[in-house]
Symmetry: C2
């Protein structure tokens, strides 16, 4: 019949269409992977030849075999080339930074989280900043509320549930931050490994604090000294995060607005305005880091004096001191690297 | 001088090379994304036209306007086309399943975890199975050791630290499983949403159990009843996981060995051997699910009688009963879907 033939023709057409699509898809995938491979090789060989040229330049210069003027010009050319390579469209074909993905692998398995499109990479970065903004406020308000209610409403005694809810939230927050930062790194961010380790430590601390029993009346303000210090540290983290976010967001916007690559900043000094901010930010960060160490030492003291002698208290104390030292060292190193230019 | 010119030429060549590379990379990226877009459109339109044809076929058949023999043949053609579309190379251009990525988004931000290469998708799946194998054993041994040491060495009293270490491990394990399963889903797995929700519940339970105080002597075997039940549930999970892994690994191998697409199984009934196993596995699963509900009810009873009346105990009880019911319903539904063919 008519409708018989009609539907038969349509089905045949669909079957044919699927077959063709399958072929195009297969050839697209194989062609893409070949092209990608070729681009990867070209980027890698250019990257290493630039490295080689740079070291040759230095040795020629130090053996005075080269005119310094010329050397400077060549050095600038190479720097520019490095920028284009590292921040242009070819960047996604350079080998990814670090197998540092152990943490990612543990949670996600062997999936690729590297994005070859600059747009998506930027979006991920912006979303990371937005995420930190959202959380930094809560970071400040949540423990502040707890501490205020403690003295106004709860008679100096923190109830267990809200504190533990806060600690659980911290744990998930830090896990998320650590995952995201690892992803940023895989996508070419220059984030120092320490800032990621810092979040692993904070994860650990949140986890340990969850297991730490929050004693009630009587005498709870004595027994809860450790928890109070922990909450104060958390508030301070919130302040540090807010300040850092402000600075880092501006830094990103400057970069995007200029449409310039990050390593270019250094050469043309275009983020001078933002780098100025850095010198304002850092003293505040140092004070906060000092306070972090102080809280850690207080926790240790509390544990040693025996007011709150659970192992969790000493553990958190040691971690906090380590984190403070690490933060300080790494902030100083960042400043040193920046001031070299 | 000679070396001057030489290095100048080399630098110029590198700069030129970078410029060319940047251009090729840019054109490659834009071409790839255009092609991808086109393939995506073709797959989507074919997918919807197949859907349409299938519903036309049914309505023609039910109004007796079509020869049943012909209808059956056409239906089979369409089924085959669906398989090719869903499991061939075009599959990666069909829209991803579910924005179900809320969980992924929360932890990872807006990064793409969809892989367009079938090989990587299969690798991810195999690694997921290997991960579950590795953990299932620990799942069994860790709580078993704790329970054995309790009666042999610890005089009926579980010490706090190892139990909490175990609970923390569970939390990270379940978070990892939930993340991986979400990634599998985005990559085209047909995993039922419930199995993922189940892991969210388990995450919650591990988190809550961490905050639950493990009381010591005297009378600890009474006070620790909740913890004991929790450990028993965990062991049972280990057994369920081991059995399920065995079955699922065989299922995957059968599929890989046959080089056939998954929806094809259903049509040609090629996994009959494995599906036979399913009928063996399910009674055991049902028993385990019954035990899960029993543990949940015991926890609730413990909480109500007032032996261990922390909110954590009732909360875990309710969660366990919900999980048992959900598991049961979903296992039955899976069986029903499978037996329809
Ligand atoms: C010192 C500091 C302001 C320098 O920031 P910066 O100028 O962005 O530093 P760099 O130029 O070395 O940054 C390199 C990359 O790492 C990132 N980064 C730097 N510090 C980071 C941090 N603490 N967390 C996450 N990412 C960071 C930057 O965004 C940049 O990423 P990109 O390559 O993708 O653009 C910053 O590291 C900081 O705030 N550190 C102190 C943190 C701290 O001590 N907190 C706790 C207080 S108790
Ligand atoms: C019933 C059961 C054996 C069916 O397994 P199955 O035959 O693979 O089921 P389906 O055919 O519906 O599987 C579809 C997909 O979901 C996956 N899947 C099914 N159940 C899963 C589970 N519990 N966890 C993770 N993935 C699962 C399969 O691997 C398959 O993936 P694919 O599309 O990528 O190949 C399985 O769901 C199961 O073991 N459930 C019981 C779990 C349980 O109750 N545990 C706790 C006991 S207290």
């Amino acid at each position: 019949s008519n409708s018989d033939e009609d539907i038969q023709a349509q089905v045949a057409k669909a079957v044919e269409g699927v077959k063709e699509l399958q072929e195009s898809a297969a050839s697209f995938i194989s062609k893409t992977s070949t092209d990608e491979q070729a681009l990867r090789q070209r980027s890698q060989s250019l990257d290493s030849s630039i490295r080689l040229l740079r070291s040759q330049l230095y040795s020629l210069l130090s053996s005075k075999a080269l005119d310094p003027k010329l050397a400077e010009k060549l050095e600038e050319d190479l720097q520019r080339a490095t920028c284009v390579l590292a921040d242009g469209d070819a960047a996604s074909f350079l080998p990814g930074k670090a197998q540092g993905g152990r943490f990612l692998r543990m949670f996600l398995g062997p999936i690729t989280v590297r994005s070859s499109s600059k747009d998506i990479q930027l979006k991920v970065k912006e979303e990371y900043n937005a995420y930190r903004d959202r959380t930094a406020l809560l970071f400040l308000l949540f423990p502040a509320t707890l501490l205020i209610l403690r003295s106004w409403l709860w008679d100096g005694c923190l109830p267990t549930f809200p504190v533990q809810a806060y600690q659980a939230w911290l744990l998930f927050l830090y896990t998320g931050l650590a995952l995201r930062e690892n992803i940023l790194r895989v996508n070419g961010s220059d984030i120092r490994p320490w800032w990621i380790y810092h979040h692993y430590c904070a994860m650990f601390m949140a986890l340990v604090s969850l297991t730490w029993e929050i004693k009630g009346q009587p005498d709870c303000s004595q027994k809860q000294r450790g928890v109070q210090l922990f909450l104060q540290w958390a508030m301070m983290q919130g302040v540090a995060m807010l300040l850092q976010n402000r600075y880092q967001r501006q830094r990103l916007y400057t970069r995007i607005a200029l449409g310039k690559a990050k390593r270019m900043d250094v050469v043309w000094g275009e983020t001078a305005g933002v780098d100025g901010q850095l010198w304002l930010l850092c003293p505040i960060l140092f004070i906060l880091q000092g306070f972090e160490a102080y809280v850690g030492l207080q926790l240790l003291k509390t544990a040693l004096v025996g007011v709150a002698s659970e192992w969790q208290v000493s553990f958190c104390g040691v971690l906090l001191v380590l984190m403070a030292v690490g933060n300080f060292v790494n902030t100083v190193q960042t400043l040193m690297v920046k001031s070299r230019f």
